[in-house]
Symmetry: C2
Subunit: 589 residues, 2 copies
């Protein structure tokens, strides 16, 4: 029968995965490890004979595993959680990623590998494994502890940074070397893409899902969710980013919908199926000979991962004000690599910039560190006690002093409130600028795609599009300006109040005027930077600007109302908690 | 990126499917129809340009759709329900299938098509669509009505008969013509396969699932279920049957497990995803030109499906004792074709025995009849009233007489009880004989596969295997004999009791002895028929038989105990209702 080969391969994989999941749960070992081992055993490199006839199709299915893994990760991510986790997670995650990339890169250089191999190795070691940590903490029954919350926070920040890392690596791999201007442009575009898709997505997607959910039909909701997920991934591929990024972002958008819990329940089986295939496929790609040949790097890297993550995350958490014991537990918990490393390794393979041995090394190190994870977590407490008792007294005193000093830095009262408002203002300005940039970049991409070439137009397409972009951006530009004005007044209040200057009113005036003026400059700069291929000649620009100014003067109230409506809608969505799951319907559909 | 083409295709399909499900629910039309239309629109035959680059991979995914559709159908099937539905469903389904195969075959001949095309057309028209009927009845809010229960019963019987039909068609297609001996052998082997796999499966699988369920981990249960499902499909493919059959049977086996509801909930999203792909892929395979060229056959076949099913199912239901109104509603409800027809059409394509136009015709007829289904169901009542009022009085009287006469045929009291016991005895004998046959056929297949050729053995492999088969069958043979003895005594009681013969005791004795003797003859016949390539020379057979008789005499109590233990275990599983779903766990895994 047609396609029987494929079904046979899939059947072998699912059968093996099923047996593995039972066996490894029974042995109390991580099932993920079992999948990889099972893949290795049935793989093409292992005697007696390969059980998989067409590994290409299986790799395609494994890619769907990446989509669903990242989508689920996105669903568990939430902007609200991110805010709660606060600065500790950011400090620790940044520390970890920078240190580990550097450690990985140096190890690669030490073994005489190529620059690109070393760079990808660094990236592979940077991010810890959410899957494995969540499983280990649940099995040890530690999920509700304080350090576990912190670990989850760090994982969320890591996920975002890893997304940036993936985009960055793709860019570097394509351009061949590390060019700071390119890196800056890549990160800038990524930032604009993330802000625009999150803002537009959170405005549109939860409303669409709420509409679909009214039909009260699980199949319909699932197919819609899958359609949105894959459709967004399609767009992201077209923009040159990876599927992993797309799946994560659309997951994060759907995390803000009220149907979140239902979506999670519906997507879980699909994810479990494809992630099983994904991990078995990881094992399939393993060549045991590479493991034997590269036993030394594997050992070195494994030790480096455990020590490096322990020290970097632990120090990060401690510097951000956590106690020594908590910091130690955080460091121990994060000391492994997992699915993200495979995704990055696969990226290198698919871009053809890394050597063949890198992937099996990543898998081997992940397997070893995964095995160690539960023991490391359990040994955190005894170890931190022993370290505490052997530390000289003066060092303990210094550490205590640092923690207290850090506590005293916290703003309180009026100052804290003012700082929060300024922060909020800056965030809103940034988001609005990103939206403006998104409009211009989007229309520029539309122009470059050549789709419009068929449309007749009395004017030049470029000019029309630039004018349209200007018009579409007006509400955001006006909002930007208003926020900048408010920010100017706030800053004037804050800086001048404390000073003993002779002309406080004048100084205040200057600051309050200067900030929005500076803002207009920035806005013009952003617009000309993102106009790209659309930028019309100077006279056209002046005409359009003139029209825009007149439009703002005439329509300012409408523009402000439109913008504030959008903003309120966005906030509503962000603030509405997801619905609890309804009790199960029992009947057969 | 590697596999991006595939992801793009999948993304287009899921996006289109998502939009379709919303649009068609909004329009209150069957979503299945929307999927097919969407597939047609994005398909390779439709301008402006094909959106799908690699339809091969999509077809492979669509095959997974068949697996999950049939598996779900199996889960909803249950031996218990089958017994409750009783004779009405059997009569109506048999009537429908025979009539529709004949109608389809004749239509094919009328249009001058080849014999094989006509035969497959008949098979395509034979089976109604569970998916479409269930959806239509839920939407019309008629699922709880009496005729709906009857319709579901007929669908269950149809599913079984269709499974046989698929096996039969494969056999005929391979052999090239219809040979009664081959058909008999095919059906016999299919029967043995079904009985053996259901018996062994129901003994083993629910216990395994109960073990896995104790870990209380949805992912583990799902992966195990998928492993069993695909593993069984793999075995079924090796035996030369279709995946559809395998998926249905393993579904029916799992339907007897206590975790049924949980399995249904876990498998639903996977099924929904792949069945969406399946139906879109059906549309992809449609060539609109064929539809235009074959408008006449399509119209004729559509009319034939509606009228043929209405008359055959309606008459079947009426003959089995239903009222005129219920019979009319049953006939109207079943008047369409669906997923099974596509599966049969795809079978013909993959076996390369049917012409290219058959598949699009099946899809077109299915689409038309699907569209008609809700209107037909709604028109059943008015139509049956009108027919009732125009019918001449004497005919109504005859119909009434028939219904009453049929009612009087029902056994009651002692007779009903005795008939039930005899029926049960016969069933048990049949199952045991099938198990014996399964043991012999299984070991014969093992011998023919040549796996054993590597094992050294002092005796001939054949003889050893035949002896082993004999030994393994002993418990079933003993049970068979005991049931035959019991049956003999029952029959003797029943037949002689009523008769006015002069030697009732002697007659009773003769019947009571003759039946088990006849039984032994049948058992020997079955054994020699299924021994196949294993059958050793006469002297070996006699020696083994002698050993077997001695073993039975020595171990009869142990054998009986073993068999009754197995039987009790089987009955326990069959009689334990599935657990209700536990209230949802809310936490993130």
């Amino acid at each position: 029968m047609h396609g029987a080969d494929f079904l046979r391969d899939l059947a072998v994989i699912m059968l093996i995965a099923g047996a593995t999941t039972v066996l490894f749960s029974r042995l109390r070992q991580p099932v993920v490890l079992g999948y990889i081992l099972a893949g290795l055993i049935i793989g093409p490199h292992t005697p007696p004979y390969p059980l998989i006839t067409n590994s290409h199709t299986i790799e395609t299915l494994a890619e769907m595993g990446v989509v669903f893994l990242m989508f689920s990760l996105g669903l568990e991510f939430s902007l609200k959680k991110l805010r709660e986790v606060g600065s500790t997670a950011l400090v620790a995650a940044l520390m970890e990623i920078v240190v580990m990339i550097w450690v990985g890169f140096e190890i690669g250089r030490f073994f005489g590998w190529r620059t690109m191999d070393s760079l990808f190795l660094g990236a592979m070691l940077a991010v810890s494994s959410t899957t494995i940590i969540v499983k280990a903490l649940s099995e040890l029954n530690l999920k509700r502890e304080r350090f576990a919350q912190l670990v989850f926070g760090i994982l969320i920040v890591e996920d975002i940074l890893a997304i940036g890392l993936i985009a960055l690596l793709s860019g570097i791999a394509v351009n061949g070397d590390i060019n700071m201007a390119t890196v800056g442009a890549t990160l800038g575009k990524l930032g604009i893409f993330l802000v625009v898709s999150l803002t537009v997505g959170i405005l549109v997607v939860p409303r669409l899902l709420a509409y679909v959910a009214r039909f009260d039909n699980d199949e319909m909701l699932l197919v819609t969710v899958l359609g949105l997920c894959f459709g967004f991934c399609l767009m992201v591929i077209e923009l040159g980013y990876s599927v992993a990024l797309g799946a994560f972002v659309i997951g994060a958008i759907m995390a803000e919908s009220r149907q979140l819990h239902l979506i999670e329940r519906l997507i879980a089986p699909v994810r479990d199926m494809f992630s099983a295939i994904f991990f078995v496929a990881v094992g399939l790609m393993l060549d045991p000979r590479v493991l034997v040949d590269y036993w030394l790097p594997i050992t070195v890297i494994t030790v480096a991962v455990v020590l490096g993550k322990l020290v970097s995350c632990g120090t990060g958490a401690f510097l951000a004000g956590q106690s020594g014991r908590t910091s130690m537990r955080v460091g121990m918990g994060l000391a492994q690599i997992g699915e993200f490393s495979f995704i990055i390794a696969a990226l290198g393979v698919s871009l053809k910039v890394t050597s063949d041995f890198l992937y099996p090394i990543a898998v081997a190190v992940s397997a070893l560190t995964t095995l160690l994870t539960p023991y490391l977590i359990q040994s955190a407490d005894p170890l931190s006690r022993r370290i505490g008792s052997t530390l000289p007294g003066w060092l303990t005193a210094v550490f205590g002093l640092y923690t207290r000093w850090l506590g005293s830095l916290q703003l309180s009262g009026d100052n804290a409130l003012a700082a929060a408002i300024v922060q909020r203002c800056l965030l809103q300005i940034l988001v609005n600028l990103c939206l403006v940039a998104g409009v211009f970049l989007g229309l520029a991409a539309l122009f470059e795609s050549g789709v419009l070439a068929f449309l007749p137009s009395p004017l030049d397409h470029k000019n029309v599009l630039w004018g349209a972009a200007m018009l579409l951006s007006l509400p955001f530009l006006v909002a930007c300006y208003r926020k900048q004005k408010a920010l100017g007044q706030m800053l004037a209040e804050m800086t001048v109040r404390g000073s003993a200057g002779r002309y406080p009113a004048a100084a205040r005036q200057i600051i309050a005027e200067l900030v929005p003026l500076l803002g207009i400059g920035i806005m013009l700069l952003v617009i000309s930077a993102v106009s790209g291929s659309l930028l019309p000649p100077l006279e056209t620009r002046l005409v359009v600007l003139g029209v825009a100014v007149v439009a703002v003067l005439l329509l300012s109230r409408q523009l402000i109302r439109l913008h504030s409506r959008l903003q309120i809608a966005l906030q509503e969505t962000l603030e509405t908690p997801p619905d609890p799951l309804k009790p199960e319907r029992h009947g057969h559909h």
